[in-house]
């Protein structure tokens, strides 16, 4: 029996109707084979629009529906649900986009309408070959994995744990807290970073629902939404966490010194170390790259001095498989290394510092005990802070790093406060971005403290003095764009506000978890406006700066958002899996086994008895690698099989009668002879 197709062409207000002629497209659709009704309407996605479809299905007995409107990525589900409400299987529906790919991008209205007719013809042709498909319901495991234990990961973990669900928190470093643990004060309240984060860090350590794994990395993830298995490598600490009392004697006695990454290279640490006295966990860790014993040399000093006998050089790495329902990635950011920007002299001049180095300098347990001093130990009488180093820069990162203007103001205040109000502080800025709560007020306060703001991106930092007052100083050469004058500002210390960039290991992280990176290197969210915490991979969410530069309040909100979405899955306990998986016709399959090696999810097995390949529907994600390659055409993806694609191609390329013919033949409508020839036949 022939199908009965209902075609609905949306105006979308003037978004489509402004360029494309919806009534003409609908009229064209009405001439196509098997089309029982073709309508156009102002807003198909609205309630009356959907009701129109439902009414036609019920009253006219439609068994296929085509909607021509916006991108299916927006409303495909809306119309599929409408079909379902009317009793029609939602997969007997095809949506074609005549807005984003047609009305919004085509200059000429006639060309736009013609293109829309082709797109609708393709959809009508294709939908004839759609089959009923039924979604599968799979259970969702109750546990959640959070990767990264900076402030975002900590927040997400606490939110999830407090709901009653178990969290597996995996942190690459030896202790939690991320970059926030390196800071001294936070803007604009000037809260001490440790004072506000340590309560949360301790809560994480003490929360029974959080299983914390530090010095651990996720190596592999398999499975699908609701049923992920993560393989975690727990690297050895070489210190027994149970026996260790945290006394810190080993840290004093170790003879090996190594540049400290936590101190941003300003000072050294020992081969056995912990990031700070407040670290959570407080247990020290031995660096296997530099420890003498672990590299076969003689030492053992820490073991000798440890009063608790907690040193254990024999600890081995451990691999565990953890089953979780969803994953939240909070892997954080890296601060850009300004060494390539030779004009700023970082690495050449002693007193040019990065922002993170300046944070460590201010921190009470940092290399200078919280005093702001130059390398020679004397306080700087004048400091220059350069904004936008590597940000808003076509040569490095085009984006704005969002936080630097605010922390530059924070540094202004700290310098005035610690060095003294006589100190001269200069900000070299492009704009002052003080967007948040209390931020503009903070700017006002800092301005009133007598800080100088010079609008201009410095050309260079040099030590070549051109007059006596510049001797022994670092000179900032810049254009003051408000005065339209070149300025040379001699200072004792320079701080570079370096760009916040994606972590260097992010491509590997993205690969392991099956998420994408955006053009700027950060993890790609599902939708820039409405999907900031989810990714295109169901069940994997992102929180904090791994998604993009943001300050602490935003990182915490973002992480809570990601936690909420992962809890939505966990609380529901079940998830519907798309039925658009592959299927291998056992009557056609010749048993060549080529597909098995191609499947990225190892979802194809070989049935030795029947000598054919079989798809494991639970593992299959419907990517089509097998179908694209199958030499006999036995492997086909439901909803994307060859009959459907050939039909779509036929519809796309069929010649459409030109509108002009109508006028030429004295007002009589053109005989749609060619259009009626639209066949659903396929030459395989």
């Amino acid at each position: 029996m022939a199908n009965k197709i209902g075609v609905y062409v949306c105006h979308c207000g003037t978004n489509i109707a402004g360029k494309v002629d919806p009534p003409a497209v609908a009229a064209h659709a009405a001439t196509l084979k098997n089309v029982a009704v073709a309508r156009d309407y102002k807003f198909m996605c609205s309630d009356p629009g959907q009701e129109m479809i439902i009414k036609d299905i019920r009253e006219m007995g439609l068994d296929r529906v085509v909607v021509a409107s916006c991108s299916p990525r927006l409303h495909e589900k809306t119309f599929q649900k409408a079909c379902a409400r009317a009793g029609l299987n939602p997969y007997l529906f095809q949506m074609t986009c005549i807005r984003e790919h047609c009305s919004w991008v085509t200059k000429d209205p006639d060309e736009a309408t013609e293109k829309a007719k082709h797109l609708v013809g393709a959809a009508v042709n294709r939908v004839n070959w759609h089959d009923e498909l039924h979604e599968r319901v799979a259970p969702v495991l109750p546990d959640v994995m959070v990767v990264g234990a900076g402030i975002a990961g900590i927040q997400a973990s606490l939110d999830i744990a407090r709901s009653g669900h178990r969290v597996h928190l995996v942190e690459k470093g030896p202790s939690i807290g991320g970059h926030m643990a390196q800071f001294d004060k936070t803007f604009p309240t000037l809260d001490c970073a440790a004072c506000i984060s340590t309560p949360k860090m301790v809560a994480v350590a003490q929360e029974p629902n959080i299983s914390l794994m530090t010095n651990a990395e996720v190596q592999e993830v398999t499975g699908f939404v609701g049923n992920y298995t993560a393989t975690v490598l727990k690297k050895p600490r070489y210190v027994d966490a149970v026996k260790c009392t945290g006394c810190g004697l080993c840290l004093e006695k170790c003879p090996t010194k190594v540049p400290s990454a936590f101190e941003e290279g300003l000072t050294t640490r020992r081969a056995i170390y912990r990031n700070s006295p407040q670290s959570v966990p407080n247990t020290p860790i031995i660096d296997p790259d530099h420890c003498r014993v672990l590299n076969g040399k003689k030492c053992g000093v820490c073991e000798k001095f440890c009063p608790a006998g907690a040193i254990d050089y024999e600890q081995k790495p451990e691999t565990v498989d953890i089953d979780v329902g969803s994953i939240v990635l909070c892997t954080g950011y890296d601060a850009m290394d300004p060494t390539p920007m030779g004009q700023y002299g970082f690495g050449r001049y002693d007193d040019v510092y990065t922002a993170l180095q300046f944070e460590r300098m201010n921190n009470a347990v940092g290399p200078t005990g919280g005093r702001i001093v130059k390398k020679d130990g004397t306080p700087p009488e004048s400091v220059a802070i350069l904004h936008c180093v590597g940000s808003r820069d076509k040569n490095y990162h085009e984006y704005c790093s969002r936080v630097c203007c605010m922390y530059a103001l924070k540094y202004d205040h700290l310098i005035k406060d610690k060095v003294g109000h006589h100190s001269k502080v200069f900000n070299f800025y492009i704009d002052l971005r003080c967007f948040g709560k209390g931020y503009e007020e903070f700017l006002r306060r800092v301005q009133e403290e007598g800080v100088t703001f010079i609008r201009g991106r410095p050309a260079e930092i040099t030590d070549r003095a051109q007059c006596p007052s510049e001797e022994g100083k670092l000179i900032v050469v810049a254009e003051d764009t408000l005065l339209s004058r070149m300025v040379r500002v001699p200072v004792d210390m320079v701080i570079l506000c370096t760009a916040m960039e994606a972590r260097k290991d992010l491509p590997e992280v993205a690969r392991v978890f099956g998420v994408a990176q955006g053009q700027d290197g950060f993890l790609l969210e599902e939708h820039p406006k409405l999907g900031p915490v989810s990714t295109s991979t169901d069940g994997v969410f992102i929180g904090g700066t791994c998604q993009g530069p943001k300050d602490i309040p935003d990182a915490v909100s973002h992480a809570s958002g990601a936690a909420a979405q992962s809890l939505a899955l966990a609380a529901r306990g079940e998830v519907t899996i798309s039925p658009t998986t592959s299927w291998i016709d056992p009557d056609v399959c010749i048993g060549c086994k080529v597909c098995i090696g191609l499947c990225p999810y190892s979802a194809i097995e070989f049935d030795e008895l029947r000598q054919v390949s079989v798809i494991n529907e639970a593992m299959c994600k419907g990517c089509g690698s097998c179908a694209g390659h199958c030499p006999s055409g036995a492997a086909q993806v439901h909803h994307f099989n060859q009959r459907q694609v050939f039909a779509e191609l036929d519809g796309l390329l069929k010649v459409v009668p030109r509108v002009k013919e109508k006028d030429e033949e004295a007002g009589t409508p053109p005989a749609p002879a060619e259009a009626a020839e639209v066949e659903a036949e396929v030459t395989a």
Partner: protein, 140 residues
């Protein structure tokens, strides 16, 4: 050739290029109307016979576009597409069809501008090349 308006079929992957096309639309980037999209879940899903069928059914060129290598939503579908398309190009040349009529590009989800540019450049290229040789040589 004057007034020759090519018809180009584009097989685009749902996660990257289709999203980029949406973004190009939302950003109102003007494009030549000659390119018509067929949504695939992955470029790895693009069977060589779809490409050949398109060229034999009246398309003057075929564009296959997906995620950047390393970024495939299904891990490595685009690598398989890369190999297949290379072989299809060789088959096309053997049949006398200019291999420039089959184009493979990688356009990420946030590359709306690149999508619009690729479309417009391809249309101009094919306008220069003229109608597909298949129409003259074969019973289509």
């Amino acid at each position: 050739m004057e007034n020759f308006e090519p018809t180009i079929v584009a097989f685009v992957c749902n996660w990257c290029t289709y999203t980029a096309a949406d973004l190009a639309g939302t950003s109102r980037l003007v494009q030549s109307p000659n390119v018509r999209l067929i949504r695939m879940m992955c470029t790895g899903m693009v069977d060589p016979k779809y490409v050949i069928k398109a060229l034999l059914s009246g398309a003057d060129a075929v564009l296959v576009s997906g995620c950047h290598p390393g970024d495939c939503h299904y891990i490595n579908g685009n690598y398989k597409a890369r190999r297949r398309i290379k072989l299809v190009k060789e088959i096309l040349t053997q049949f006398g069809i200019d291999e420039r009529r089959l184009k493979l590009t990688w356009i990420g989800a946030s590359d709306g501008i690149e999508f619009a540019e690729t479309v417009n450049e391809l249309v101009n290229e094919i306008k220069e090349l003229g109608p597909c040789e298949a129409r003259e040589m074969m019973v289509v």
